[in-house]
Structures are given as C-alpha cells and as structure tokens.
Assembly symmetry: D2
Homo-oligomer: 259 residues x 4
C-alpha cells in the first residue's frame, strides 16, 4: 500500500552484448537496458529502475545499491564464475531479508540462484529455433495477469526437463517447445523474508526481451516480489526466556535467565 | 511392511466397450480388464486384483467390497451421471478414511474426483491423433520408478491447460502434445487419511492401456497409494478436556468437563 | 492496480447473536457488524463493505450481490444446514470464477468450505478459556503484514489437530493453546480463479472480533484475496482444433474440425 | 521392492559426549550409538546400520562409505565449522544423486542442511525443561506410521518459530512447548533425486534418543528416505538434438547437430 515507487535494479552480465555481433544487433544497448525499458513502459511511475552490470566495481551491487533496491532482476550466462562470492553472499542476505529477486533464463546457473535453491539447477537444452509456448497453469496469480494463454515465442532456445530445482512453492507457467519438450518456466519461491521468481524465456540470440508478453510477465513479477515491509532484517537466532512475548522485554546478554 | 498383498479394485464404467465397435476392437474384455491384467502382470503376488463395473448392483462397490479394497482405480467417461450419489459418498468416505484412489483420464470429470478436488476439473481437449509425451518432473518419486523419460504415446486424445484442479501436493508428470499443448498429467493429492493419484493418459479410442509404461505407472501408483495403516477411520470431531493426552482416558458424553 | 475500492460482503449467520445473551453482550449488533467495522477501520477508502445474513432472502447472497462482491467473508456455526444448497452452489461458482473468500472460525464446517476442500474439515475442540497464541510462519506473506508474532488472544475456544483439510497451498499461521494443542490457523488455498483464506481465531463467546490484530489479519486477507482481474468466468471445457492459439479464431459448434 | 536391506550410516558429531559429563551420563556410547541401536531395534533385518563420527578420517564419510549408504542421519551442534567443506560437498552431491538424508535437532545449523535449504535455518530457542508435544498433521504419511498423537517428550529444549526454512514439501509434525511456542518439527523435502527429512526433537542434555516414539519416527524416516532406484547419478546438463527421445541415440560431443 506504499505510495513510494518500487525501486528496481536490473542486473546484466553484459558479456555477449559486448563480444557477439549477433547479440549486439538485437540488443545494441544490452539486454539489461531492454529489460529496464520494458519494466518502465509497463509500470510507469510505480517504479524507478536502474541498471547494473558485471563490469562495474562490485558489479554495481554495493551494499548501498542493494539497500535501496526493492527488487533485483538477474541475467547471466557466460560469466557466472566471474561474479564474486562476496557479492553473491550480499545478494543472498538481502533476499532472505526481504528484497525481491527475479532470475531470468540462463540465470538458472548463476551462483545466487544455485545458492538459494540448494540443487544443481541443471536442465536439458538445445539451440535450434524451437517455438516456445508458455502456458499459464495458475490463472489467478498476479504474475499471470494480463498475459495471453499461451504466450507464443516464435524462436527460442529449448530448455527441457528434468530441471533440478526444488518443487516451486507455486508453479505459474509451463512451456512446451516444437521438439516436444516441456519445462517449468515460471516458478515462485519464498525464501527467508524475500520472494524469488524464476522465468525461463529469454536468450541472447533471440529477441525475447523485446516480446511484449515476456516484458509484461517480468513487470508483473516486479510488483509481486516487492517487499511487504520496509524492514530489512536477516532472520537470526534469538534466545527467548519463558513468557518473553507477554512482556515484550528485551534481554541483555547478561540476563540471568539466559545463564 | 505388511506381508499381505494389496487388495485392488479396478472400476470401469464399461459403456464404450459395450456399445462402440472401435472400442470393442481395442478392449474386447473392457478397459478395466486390461488395466487389471497390467497391474497383476507388474506386481504379481504383491496384489490381488478384482474388477467392478457400473452395471453391477451398487456398481459393484458395496460397503463390503470397499472395506476390503486397499486401492481403487476409476475410469469413467460417458456415464458419470449414472453413478449414484450414495456410492460416490461411500467411496469419498473410504478415501478420507485411508483407501487409495487412482483416477484415470476422463475420470477427471467423475463425481468422486470433483467432490475430492472441490473445483470444476475442466480442461481443454481435442481428439486428433496427437502424440503425447509424458515427462517426469519428480524423478525421485516412487510413482515414476522405472519409466522412461519421456513416455511416448504415439496416438492420444489431447488434454490441455488450463486444468482446473487444486495445485497438486506433488506434480509427477507433465505431458506435451503434438499440437503444442501441455497438461499436468500426473498429480498427487493427500486427502484425509487417503492418497489420490490422477493420471491422464488413456482414452477409449486409443490402445493406451496396453502401453507397458502406462501400466507401469498405474502399478507404481497402486503400491504408493496403499494405506500405511490397517485402521480405516473417517476423520471426525472430538471434544477434548484439558490434558486429555496425558491420561489417555476416554470421556463419556456425560463427563462434567464437557458440560 | 485498480483504483476502484475492493467490494467486500461480510456474511454472518447471525443466530447466536439473536438468541444467546452472552453473545449479545459482546456483539450487540452481530459479529458481522464488528467484522465489517474492523475492515473499514483498517482499509478506509480502499474498500466498500456491506453485510448480509442468513435471515435475509437468499441469505442476502443473490446473484446480483455476488456479482458485485470482490471478497466475501463467512462466519457460521449453529445453522450450517439452513444455508440453501442453491446459494452454496452460487458462492462456489463465484469463488472458482475469481471472487475471494475468507472463512472464519467455525465456518470450517460450513457447506461452502467443505465443498471447496473436499474433506471432512473436522478437528478437535474444547471451550475452556484457553489462551491462544497465533504464530507467523510465513513472515513475508501479505496476510501477515504488520501483525505481532505471536498474536496473543487471552481467551479462546481451543481448535486442535488433526484438522482434516488439504495441505494448504501456503501455511501462514500456526496457533498453540494453553492446553498444549496446536492448529494450522491461517491457511491459503487457490481454487479455480479464486483465492480462499481460512483463519480460525474467533468464537461467539469470546470478544475475538474486537481484537485489533485479528481484524488486521482479516483486513490483510481482504486485500490479498481481491481478484487480479475484472473478468469473472467459471473455468469450463473447451474443444480446441490443432493450432487454435495461432489464429485466435473462435470455433462455432458446427465447425467441421470439431466433428 | 528390493529385498536388499537399507544401508544406513548414522553420523554423530560426538563432541558433547566426549567432553560434557551431563551428556556422557545419558549417552555413554554417544548419541549416534543410541540412534543406531534404535533404528536396528525397529527395523531389524530390513536395515544394516553403521556409525561414523567427526573425529574419524574424512569424518568417516569417504566416497566409498557414501556410495554404500542409502540413508544418512546427521546430528551436529558444537562443531559444525569443523566439518570440512569437501565432505559437505560430497554429501550434498550424494543427496542430489539419490541418497536419503535425515537431519536431527541442532543439525538445522549444519553446513549440509543450510546448503540444501538455501536459507539461514535460524530459529528461536530456550533450554529450560519445556515439555514438547509433537502433533501429527499428516496422518497418512509413512513417517507418522504407528506414533501416538501427540508424542509427549517430558523435557526438551525449546525450538520456536520463525524457523527460516523453505516451506516444506510436506509438513508432517508441528510441536508445541510448555512456554507456548510452536515449531515445524517434522519437514519433508525432495532435492534432486534424493529425499530429506528434518526432525527437531533431540538434544544432548535430555534423553530424547532413548524415547521410543522418537526412535520410531527416525526409523520410519529411514524407510521413507531410502532411494527408489539403485542408480546414483547427479542431475546434469544434457544437450539434446531435436527428436533425441525417439531414437534413443547417444550423441558424441562432435555430433554436427550440436555444432
């Protein structure tokens, strides 16, 4: 119910866009810029959007930036290993403290997604111009608001099952590909005080982040993942004396009841 | 851990098989007989299997039969409305009391499945010789044991999303069809003290219940759905005095603490 | 994102309040009036709230009223059987079509809740002035926004496990009672296009619906359960020709492809 | 259906038992020995049980030992940091490949549990002789077979919510404590090809691992967590040519379709 806009940081690895001509043609300013523009176009003054990339100091994800970020989106592929563990731990702590996280496409293999999932996050794949159909299986979920069923993506990389993830807390989308494979392509997770959405459409070789329905889903997810509280606290261990909740008192470390 | 075999009752509507030549050719003794034979072939002396059909008195599902049934399988299509409400209520009570239930294909629209789900159980469909691929998304589930990924069903009726069911407690299989549709084709539910498995492959016009992988899944599901207890009690309201669990006492209705 | 207020109908059985002096003292204008006032106090101009009771024609839940209701809350206890099946079916269809439903306390045994759950919805109980503590186990859920952990309800009826419900899609609250029992007291379900929240605190003999934290939870749930779409359509069967989604065409019933 | 016994390895940190007189009295041969004896007593020739401890080379968890382990149980508390990362990674890979894992009590803070969960796994606690009641909320689950509802543990450390874990795939037990706190004390997770069960009762200062119902739950969990397949393969990325599933062919890395 906050009247403040949602503060979004769109993170891009920004490697393919610098080095591959095929990708530069589709995304001359980088995929992160296209994603940021789509969110702004959809949500208007309900958001303020900035971008950050791997190449910036601390990958553009300093403590200050993260503290001022309500929802972070993540696209990476060629350089997962170049993301510093320190930044990954920092993002992890922020998610568990309440920041929303949207992981896109090949981000399934990012350090941060694997750390949050606890599994290998492996999958089957093929890059052969498959058509992807994205079917909604949770039509009442806010992330599916206003998107056609199915979303039709004319050309896409195939991602197929078995996708080694925890069963999602909510499964929103299932994709099929021309070759017959299926994929759980829209997955909701709650972790700590934060919310995570994985959305698989999107590949550097296809203009998926110019697709209005894909940008609509990402924008919906931004609104859904925004924190419900302004408090940003990492869950932590508390030692509690009997009846602590009746008095509301705070114990000092020297409290004899804790001896 | 019981050494007793699982008592299975395979219920068949047995209408198409009596009236449609195309179906008689595929299932001269009825689909229920083919399903029963498949379960017996897979599980051997771990099961004793009988069949029951709509046309029998009380549809073959008397209180006595159900009391001696560990797992009931259900196929119906053309005559859902002819199943008496009394028998449906009886099956419902047995499932909530611990009996396993496996609902097959067009059984999604049976009275018993709709009553257990609480939703319309509607879906999209087409009968046009689609190829169905059944993909495993829970490879560690006992129902998926020993089946290839994907199961290939050369010709099948298409069932597509949106399938109006509660989100399954566990999603085991997702199907794709030649036409591009997807379907949550293997769904686990726990209801009361019982377990329910919905499995969509199977149609009277295609020889799906002669497919060894389909029969393997149904057989796995029989083992999975068998009760973990010999007790068969419907969950019910109990009025409890303070500390009842420490004494193990049983209260009479006249107990003053219940006044 | 709609700027329109959420249209809430608070339904009350209104039997205890008419007949029991003890209840009249606590709720001179009925529990429904107290609940409605609490929602209005919390949500202000984000809602418009009306009430309806069992005694009105069609229990105050005509097709017109329901069509104009975004979220319905339900309290019943002594007269579940007097609610007409026609009205129950009507509410059921509206929920599956997108209307939010909040079921309170003894509403666990209402026809509408049992129909949506598919189980007996039975539980253990005791009316002996237990203190109830309502613990949040999903702190990032909007329904838990702004409530203390635990909520302390000084005197309450005890509701205890085993509560025969489907495992909730999300478990928000777990209660404990002085006597040691526990209860899944805040349960989220998605059914069809609608959302359902069950919240157990509240009993006619205790002033629970004057408790600010209880009213805060109900108000949060109203916001959460409001439809994400203005469309109100019951999920239904559709027969689909191959490739239907590419053309967007609508088939007439005479279409030869459907023959 | 294997007739081979389940191979169980009971891992114990074995620090308190060596250093604290109070613990030695309760567990003169270590908690791991008590747990192993309980499993053997309950399951007889359906299991072969060995133990391993922190102090052994590679903590007793060599590749060879893990390859021959169907289910691993884990108790640790004072020395989580002394468990080598290499062994943790090894256990993690085995779980995702199919090995069952049962994490006990203070093992919630072990490296392996945190790595599998992806969250802080923090909680509230108090050591003040609370009575713990363990309530079954999934009476049809094999892990709850044959245990009273509630299990009464006369003296226990309190573990309370908020417990920062992913919502369990299945919630089996909820505990209450004399002080009024609640805890999700029996939680099922599926990760990769493996199954994980967390069970919170058990503390070095109380004789909980001599409690027959606690040992019954752990034994039930051993049977439930045993792999359904003898294959032990870590999920991994596969590049798939179109139609791979129809031919069953294996592609060499030089296959032109993969170019």
């Amino acid at each position: 119910m906050s009247v403040s806009p949602i503060r979004v940081t769109v993170w891009g690895e920004n490697v393919h866009e610098q080095r591959d001509e095929s990708v530069k043609k589709i995304y001359p300013d980088g995929m992160h810029t296209a994603i940021a523009a789509g969110i702004t176009a959809n949500l208007g003054d309900r958001v303020v959007v900035r971008t950050a990339t791997l190449q910036e100091p601390e990958h553009g994800l300093t403590e200050e930036v993260l503290a001022e970020t309500d929802v972070l989106t993540w696209w990476g592929h060629a350089a997962h290993d170049q993301v510093s563990d320190e930044v990954v731990d920092r993002v992890h702590a922020q998610v568990l403290s309440g920041m929303g996280l949207i992981v896109l496409h090949s981000g399934h293999f990012s350090k941060i997604f694997k750390k949050l999932m606890g599994t290998t996050c492996s999958l089957d794949w093929r890059s052969a111009n498959d058509r992807e159909l994205v079917w909604t299986v949770a039509p009442n979920h806010p992330i599916a608001r206003g998107v056609p069923n199915p979303i039709i993506i004319p050309q896409q990389e195939m991602y197929g099952e078995f996708f080694d993830i925890p069963a999602p807390d909510e499964l929103i989308f299932i994709s099929s590909f021309s070759g017959g494979e299926v994929f759980r392509s829209g997955c909701v997770y709650r972790r700590g005080r934060g919310r995570v959405f994985y959305f698989s459409p999107g590949d550097q070789e296809y203009p998926v982040y110019h697709h209005p329905d894909v940008l609509r889903v990402i924008s919906n997810a931004v609104e859904w993942a925004a924190p419900t509280s302004t408090e940003r606290t990492l869950p932590h261990v508390s030692r509690r004396p009997t009846g602590w909740f009746e008095t509301g008192e705070t114990l000092s470390a020297e409290d004899p009841r804790l001896a």
